[in-house]
Symmetry: C2
Subunit: 325 residues, 2 copies
């Protein structure tokens, strides 16, 4: 029931995922049964899709923690609880991010050694992709939290992107070890003392350049950066419109350029690649954008399956044991 | 002597500024006399340009505070001191940012009521420009500091951009008043209690959209955002190159698009507009990028002159008195 276009986009994306699944997995749609059945009826029946009823819906504007208390039969709570109870290997949602975060952390619990579960986002760079962690789950971070984000991010990229021993950078205001804020400076010494493939401080300009595979920052900075990045295409569109309005030649240039621009801009839309993973909980929870398209839903389901298959959580647990001595 | 291309770019920019000045101002070039004279000799003599000798140079890699102590006859220290002593109405430098910041704050002192001087940057938006403050001077900020940045930013935009009662937004991770980190949440209540034209929280995506005239954040976030923004053109260039390599049609598209792209990208280069002002000190100190071109130097000088002419500091002092009751 989650997201701006629920349940129809969620159902459509699920149907697509199952169709392309080669029977590797089945999907349980959690939510208001009648509404889901109506949507599902538009597609050929599949044995890989079933429904679990949940009467309530936490909507995008609900205050997460309050909603979790008052709406105990929400699709989010029911779905995460099913996952905890082994009635599913992973949970996927395009619903209220705060509610999915809280429900997953509370119901699934944390992996041993993890102080704060985190979400990270794979964003495009000039040469490939980079995992920005934390992407908005934890706004006030102690140095220890930043360090753990780096550990978990490194494991995630190693397992999911297939990059061995990925490089980790700590986002700061200068390359030198003396640059940073209180929290980042202390985290830097933790990274330096660890056996990770730690690059050192990276700056804002190094992210899109792809200088490192994992960029660590607190969730305030991560959230602001991701949203800023999302707004760049619209900015360019507006500026290109001004440019086109200045002369006939410009107008023709802009017309020709449009297809190229569109292709390039699309790469910035990291949401399309399938939601962001919550790392550090005893389970698999993939969180999608409220505006997730059917394609994004499909990709989220694939990502969840891959997360399970690659044993990311076992690897995180081992890594936490290692860094905690 | 400041910047990557000193003294020749600084001298060239000064000559251009004076040429276009209509004799509104004169410029004293502070630094190693012989080297400056050599550069100055390449241009027709002007009565509006003189030289003040300073034997030492703080370079871009020097640790600011250490350098200020050991190099007491640096062009930065000599120049700021001359300004304090009334031998100049403003100070402009493309040198070591930290050193200019420290020297200006220590030698000029703070305006009454200001706890922390700040630097802000005018950045382009879809509809005009927006003043991002703090742009990197203060990385760990108490709520009071953020509030003061908003007050000073509002005065600066009002006086320099000519926008009456500019709107001020507080950068956060959501629009609602409950969203933020510890520091921003407490600052929010201060803004709400003030008589400013306060918009409320703004998000990363609202900056380039031009939702407000002044965006307030701590210097860590500001620095990261500005540098991220600076790297966007290079990212697009790389992606467009990939796009062009895919087919002949794409290649032709990219060729045609190039001029448009270049024009649009140029707007992102906020450095060209003339450095960033240090706000809150008892004087005028304009800080330029190390890579400042002659044009940027020229614009910095014009900005300094305008800062003086519009009485920005008197207005900041009045505003601080007002908000402090």
């Amino acid at each position: 029931m989650g997201g701006d276009y629920a349940p129809h986009y969620v159902v459509e994306g699920t149907v697509q995922a199952v169709r392309e699944s080669q029977e590797r997995f089945a999907v349980v749609l959690v939510g208001q049964k009648q509404r889901i059945e109506r949507e599902l009826g538009k597609f050929p029946a599949s044995k890989q899709i079933s429904i679990a009823h949940a009467s309530e819906v936490i909507d995008m504007l609900d205050a997460p923690n309050a909603a979790l208390k008052t709406k105990r039969d929400s699709s989010i709570t029911v779905g995460v609880t099913m996952h905890r109870d082994g009635k599913g290997d992973a949970f996927v949602s395009a619903g209220n991010t705060g509610a999915v975060l809280s429900a997953s952390t509370l119901i699934l619990g944390r992996i041993k050694g993890v102080s704060r579960p985190t979400i990270g986002a794979l964003i495009p760079t000039e040469s490939g992709r980079c995992f920005l962690v934390d992407a908005g789950a934890n706004v006030d971070c102690r140095p220890r939290h930043l360090f753990e984000f780096g550990v978990m991010g490194s494991i995630y990229v190693g397992a999911m992107v297939g990059k061995e021993n990925p490089s980790v950078g700590l986002l700061s205001i200068g390359e030198e070890d003396i640059k940073g804020n209180e929290s980042s400076l202390e985290a830097l010494t933790m990274f330096r003392a660890s056996d990770m493939n730690f690059f050192g401080n990276v700056e804002g300009r190094d992210i899109l350049q792809g200088k490192v595979d994992v960029v660590v920052c607190d969730g305030f900075v991560g959230n602001v950066l991701l949203k800023f990045g999302e707004s760049v295409p619209s900015f360019f569109k507006a500026k290109f419109k001004n440019f086109a309005a200045k002369s006939i030649v410009n107008k023709l240039t802009a017309l020709v350029a449009r297809s190229g621009l569109r292709t390039v801009m699309k790469e910035l839309d990291y949401q399309e690649h399938g939601g962001v993973p919550l790392l550090g909980v005893n389970g698999v929870s993939i969180i999608g954008h409220g505006g997730s398209t059917p394609k994004a839903i499909k990709n989220m389901i694939f990502r969840a399956e891959e997360f399970v298959r690659r044993g990311v959580n076992t690897k995180i647990e081992e890594a936490m044991k290692r860094v905690n001595g």
